[in-house]
Symmetry: C2
Amino acid sequence: MADCPLCQTSPHDLLWQDDFCRVVLLQDADYPAYCRIELLAHIKEMTDLPPAQRARTMKVVFAVETAIREVIQPDKINLASLGNKTPHLHWHVLPRFEGDRHFPNSHWGAPMRDSEAQPLTEAVRDALQRVVTERVKCALES
Amino acid sequence: MADCPLCQTSPHDLLWQDDFCRVVLLQDADYPAYCRIELLAHIKEMTDLPPAQRARTMKVVFAVETAIREVIQPDKINLASLGNKTPHLHWHVLPRFEGDRHFPNSHWGAPMRDSEAQPLTEAVRDALQRVVTERVKCALES
């Protein structure tokens, strides 16, 4: 759809993509390892997908969660698919730390403190891409 | 765990339960059909579960989404598993309407207007329980 930002080429750092979905690193200032899984097709709800594609989507989501946990060891993972503003299926995979800007609130909620987040180093960003790629490949083959 | 509220008997309206998880209606004043899927075991992250149990959890989540869409036809479904305050796996399945209190923001975000939500009628609540039960049973058998 012409007016849907997720139907365009992503402006974000692309970590992995196949013909079904892509994994991007949002380069969020407060949450430097914040990833998003975006379906390529303009589909609104998970239950608009047939069950096999729901399962495929979640395999990618959990592979990204696994990769993030392996590379940066967050205190908690937050998963969400809202789409109120952009009703094109996408999943937020957000590593949380106890000292992050909103913890323990949702990152959509009230801030609790100033952010002390630092951008990912190039080495960590590259490790994240490598491990995401490995974990997604493994998940989709299982 | 003694200090985990989700390790206790639920204070909410129980729609469905098996030996793995339960579905409760939160009776939220702003979001009367807000449901939560709660694992019975005290597990923190989806990727702490083996893949088959992740899939089982998501089948229940999507069955509840299907039931809510069938019974109340929301404008959007929001799915989330955060657990920052209660690190015991649970999924929020939240039907959203364009005129609800926070739309199009997250319901954890800034309110946009006063809520005009009305409690579910007994007939709708009972329909929701019936359809959740049917859809979950069907999903777990497939």
